[in-house]
């Protein structure tokens, strides 16, 4: 019985791993492999190893400008979303009051809203209130979906947070702000780091919403979209995308290590 069960779960695991490998990791691997292929078309045969596409990528002003815009927007969006999202999470998880579940739904719904709807409604909104489209409107739009994202992730952690820890800190002489800094923050830090990573990558990746509200400016996904019209750009896009994939994997890995290192290491408060 156990034998058979174990064998079944082994095959289920193998199957899952294969499917994941085939539909997610294989395409990414191909992307990276072809970024080193010395050919203008992305297909076999293999024409030899080159770093040419990387050189070109780093010399294209328009690409660098778009990349810089994306990083800058994502950084601002992440910072603002973390502050607002953590505050919202406190309201969702910590206090009991009438209409709490209503508030939770109100905060969480944008996370599951279709991008297209969000983009169209934001475009209409900026038109109505006569705000010219720019990176500023992009930032506002990204905040609108990143705040709920942060709030949901942090609230999940706060739900498990034992409120008597804060009471103990207060009882031992810490004021409300000190209590948050020395007790609450270090304990929910893993969730905040995770939320920050997600918020950053959602903003960095956002194409649909950005497309509606960006006006004449360019972010990286917008640049990729317009560059794809010219097949000669394809290897350069491959090269840049490969860098981004590697950087994102690194960030997630670091985030995971931070999360695991809970209690010791980097996040320990020492004062």
């Amino acid at each position: 019985m156990w034998q058979r069960l174990r064998r079944a779960s082994f095959w289920l695991g193998m199957y899952t791993a294969m499917v994941m490998a085939f539909i997610i990791y294989l395409p990414i691997l191909l992307l990276i492999v072809f970024s080193f292929n010395d050919s203008k078309i992305m297909s076999l045969p293999w024409n030899g190893f080159t770093l040419r596409w990387y050189r070109i990528a780093f010399s294209r002003e328009d690409l660098l400008h778009a990349l810089f815009n994306s990083l800058w927007v994502a950084a601002v969006v992440t910072a603002v979303s973390l502050v607002l999202g953590i505050m919202a999470a406190n309201g969702m998880a910590k206090y009991r009051y009438r209409g709490r579940s209503l508030f939770t739904g109100y905060i969480a719904i944008p996370v599951v809203m279709p991008w297209l709807l969000l983009g169209i409604s934001l475009l209409l909104f900026f038109n109505v209130i006569k705000v010219p489209l720019s990176l500023f409107t992009v930032i506002l739009s990204h905040i609108s979906f990143d705040v709920p994202l942060v709030a949901v992730i942090v609230a999940a952690r706060l739900h498990q947070f034992d409120p008597t820890l804060e009471e103990a800190a207060r009882d031992l002489g810490a004021g409300p702000i000190e209590t948050f800094r020395l007790v609450t923050l270090p304990i929910i830090a893993p969730a905040i780091v995770a939320a920050g990573i997600f918020a950053f990558s959602w903003s960095f990746d956002a194409f649909v919403v950005t497309h509606f509200v960006i006006g004449s400016q360019v972010t990286f996904p917008i640049w990729v979209w317009s560059a794809l019209r010219y097949p000669k750009n394809l290897p350069v896009i491959n090269a840049v995308s490969s860098i981004i994939v590697v950087v994102e994997i690194l960030i997630v890995y670091l985030g995971e290590r931070l999360r695991r290192g809970e209690g010791g290491g980097v996040l320990r408060s020492n004062d």
Binding site: D162, T164, L165, E167, A168, A169, R170, D171, L172, G173, A174, G175, E178, L182, V183, P186, I187, E262, G263, G264, L267, R268, S269, D271
Partner: protein, 373 residues
Amino acid sequence: MTIREGLQHGKENGLAVEHLVKRFGPLVAVDDVSFSVAPGEFFSLLGPSGSGKTTTLRIIGGLTVPDEGEVYLGGERITYWPPEKRDVNIVFQNYALFPHLTVFENVAFGPRRRGWPERKIREEVTRFLKMVHLEGYEGKYPRQLSGGEKQRVALIRALIMHPKVLLLDEPLGALDLKIRQELQLELIRIQEEVGITFIYVTHDQGEALTMADRIAVMNRGKILQIGDPKTIYEQPVNRFVAHFIGNTNFFEGQVVKVEGGMALVDVPGLAQIWGVPVGEVRAGLPASVSVRPEKMYISRHPPKGGSFNVLQGIVEDMIYTGVSTEFIVRLPTGQQVRVFAQNISKDAEIWKITWDEKVWVYWRPDRSLVFVE
């Protein structure tokens, strides 16, 4: 000392609470609670769960703001002070140790907020760890500790602040019986050593009787009785206290007459029983008579002479514990009574008593109490 004088005394020197009221929606969790605690006293708030004892403790600690009433400490009115300003510390029921800090940093948390110099912090933390036999635990994290060890850390984390009053919220509630008994003794020793006032919340009447100098029995948000363990046990003010503290046999009936400081109660189908009236006992009122198992005699023969309340029954069970034997006797009404007999000598008459035997159970009238409610 009258209650008023006591409150005045507590206001000036120790701790006093006056007319505390706290409502949670329609529920009155704390209902007009007043008491005072002298410096150095071991005071226990005892009651079943939901009796308001923890809420009272939280009000003293500043974690809950009362709707009415005042809290005084060392002559100052501290009712609305935030917890970090009060010279009062709490040992939480679930320990509430900071999971991301080591044992050392947990204990040093309070001193650091006070800005003690590093050297003094190191010395004091070491001293307190030693006091509870946790030398060498400085670098451990709470998740690496056993329940008893966590409890000790929580205790000294609060004690190191040298508060005027230490509040303990069922601190031993989550521990096994053996560790609990060990820590009870340790707590008493530490309390005597540091001389800090303890307010100890518990639902375990045995714990309160063993440890406390004085006990306040609470139920449904009210204090029913305040007194030393002996008074609470021997002279309960009502049926609830008599029932909650220790073991008691109750007989339900109706007051026949009150005469010469004693009341006679008719228990239908059983007997007429004499007892000391407690409160407003008048003829005709429904009443319960209480008598503790260790105040009764059991014999195979009726008592000779003397004035006793006497009942007859059949031995249903005997529980031998070494120190004493507990007899369960079934009365003609079907009610069971428990009688303790001390094991003074193995040749005593009572050792001849056996199962299903007809016995007499009797006690002096002044050993039973009559409550009307």
